[in-house]
Amino acid sequence: MSKSFLEVDGLSKVYPDGQGGELTVFEDIRFALEKGEFVCIIGHSGCGKSTILNVLAGLDEASAGNVVMNGKEVKGPGLERGVVFQNYSLLPWKTTLNNIVFAVRARWPNWSKEKVKEHSERYLKMVGLEHALNRKPSQLSGGMRQRVSIARAFATQPELLLLDEPFGALDALTRGVIQDELVKIWEETRQTVFMITHDVDEAILLSDRIFLMSNGPNARIAESVKVDIPHPRARATIFQNPAYHKTRDYLVDFLVNRSGSALPEEDGSPRLVEPAKGAAEASSATTESETAARAVNA
């Protein structure tokens, strides 16, 4: 097996449960990402998605297992992995522009002032905020703040971009607009992205693959669902693609009926599923075992 860009091997997180025992939030998480892939991870609250992302970011430590990126083990945070947090995490005493400048200067300390500024402005323009350079985050709406946060992450051109439910706090309309922008930026940059979301439609619009997590405690990444819809995609037209509905039905079925009991392959890697492929049509009448069997065959 050839080495992937990012390899996650046997990750688990154990907390003391407060009564002298231990609580395993997730265990034996295994997956690999290829360069340029956009992967979303979906699961119910409490399955440890955010912890997995924080471990990838180096902000949290796993109880067991390891993460290898580009052949090097991930230990602690680093500029080659950019993070967009759900609550934006902009520095409120800095202007929009200076929030980006802060990141760009950290990334390329030897750049001249002009170059840093020019680079930062380019990325703010990408998210349509060239008119708000000198405003403080408190003067921006939630959507604009998250745009700044996305611009900051993309501006440092990390090899892996980690998005922790970036649109969770936004209203549906704003969310749609920023999703479109994210699609656009991603088409331009083809960054490798690992993103947490609760939104099935968002996952289908953005990802190449979707990881489905079973419920915690002892949560696993049970399945890896291929989204067989060609790029570039658009929010307004994606639902016309028949693969969209098949994928969507499959995801919803998993989240509603199967997330409690789903298990990965024997070797711990997620089952590969292609719900939009040929006969693999998910109907509500199929039983759990049939679905699982088909998933193995797919």
Partner: protein, 275 residues
């Protein structure tokens, strides 16, 4: 309808006039109803007991003092400006020395739970001590009254700055620290570019409380050590039974205290941020 500000100003001025008027009336010397006795004539009138001077006398004295605030006619006769300057100099020296200790130590305590736990009992023990209680010890050890007054200012202004710095630093949002971490900032750069600006409003609040306390304490400290300063001036004029000067200097203490507070209020505005 005039704006709120105009109405408030009008009301303020009316209160002032009312208070001054009442004060003026209450402090008029009683009229001699009958002819003066021989003794009274000998003493130059009915006015025997010293009374609180009327506002007109205080204003007249204030005018004289303020038109030449920096005269120096010997050890016991200096202008109000010189006395205030001595006090401000002592307050600022003690205050800056306290800042030089409180900010770094506060940072240390705020960043390290270990240091916090280790030092907290001492801080809690030393903090409630009246700064003037240190005066005898300071005088004995330092052997210099001026430096002892400065030390008392130092010891009273250090605690609010220290505790507020520690509190501000300890409560910087983890998200912002994480931003520094994901951008690979070293500890020093994190402290300067993220933690300091994040904690600055809390630190400035502590500094503002400290300057207020320092200005309260300097008056009492100077009454004790004597020589120069506004505290000494008040006490000296009391000994001279010059109550107009006492009242005037009380007002000046208020004015300078207000200016110090305003200056730190402005500084606080500069570092404030909205989330």
């Amino acid at each position: 309808m005039a704006s709120l500000n105009v109405r408030a100003a009008l009301l303020s001025v009316s209160f002032l006039i009312l208070a001054l008027g009442l004060w003026e009336m209450a402090t008029q010397p009683p009229e001699a109803l009958t002819g003066l006795t021989e003794y009274e004539m000998l003493m130059g009138g009915v006015e025997q007991e010293s009374r609180v001077p009327p506002p007109s006398a205080v204003i007249k004295l204030a005018w004289e003092e303020l038109s030449n605030p920096f005269y120096d006619a010997g050890a016991n006769d200096k202008g109000i400006g010189i006395q205030l300057a001595y006090s401000v100099y002592r307050v600022l020296t003690g205050y800056l020395a306290a800042m030089a200790i409180a900010l770094p130590v506060g940072f240390l305590i705020g960043m390290s739970p270990l240091m916090y736990k280790a030092l907290n009992p001492y801080i809690q023990l030393l903090r409630p001590i009246s700064p003037l209680a240190w005066m005898p010890l300071a005088l004995f050890i330092i052997q210099d009254s001026d430096a002892s007054a400065i030390f008392v200012i130092f010891i009273c202004s250090i605690w609010p700055m220290l505790l507020n710095t520690a509190f501000g630093v300890a409560n910087v949002r983890q998200d912002w620290v994480n931003v520094a971490r994901t951008h690979e900032l070293g500890p020093l750069r994190t402290a300067i570019t993220v933690i300091l600006p994040a904690a600055a409003p809390t630190i400035l609040t502590g500094m503002r409380i400290s300057i207020g306390i320092a200005w309260l304490v300097i008056v009492a400290a100077e009454m004790l050590v004597g020589g120069t300063g506004i505290g000494y001036y008040v006490w000296n004029e009391w000994n001279n039974l010059d109550l107009a000067s006492v009242i005037f200097s009380i007002l000046m203490i208020g004015v300078v205290g207000m200016l110090l507070d305003l200056a730190l209020g402005k500084a606080q505005k500069l570092v404030e941020y909205k989330e």
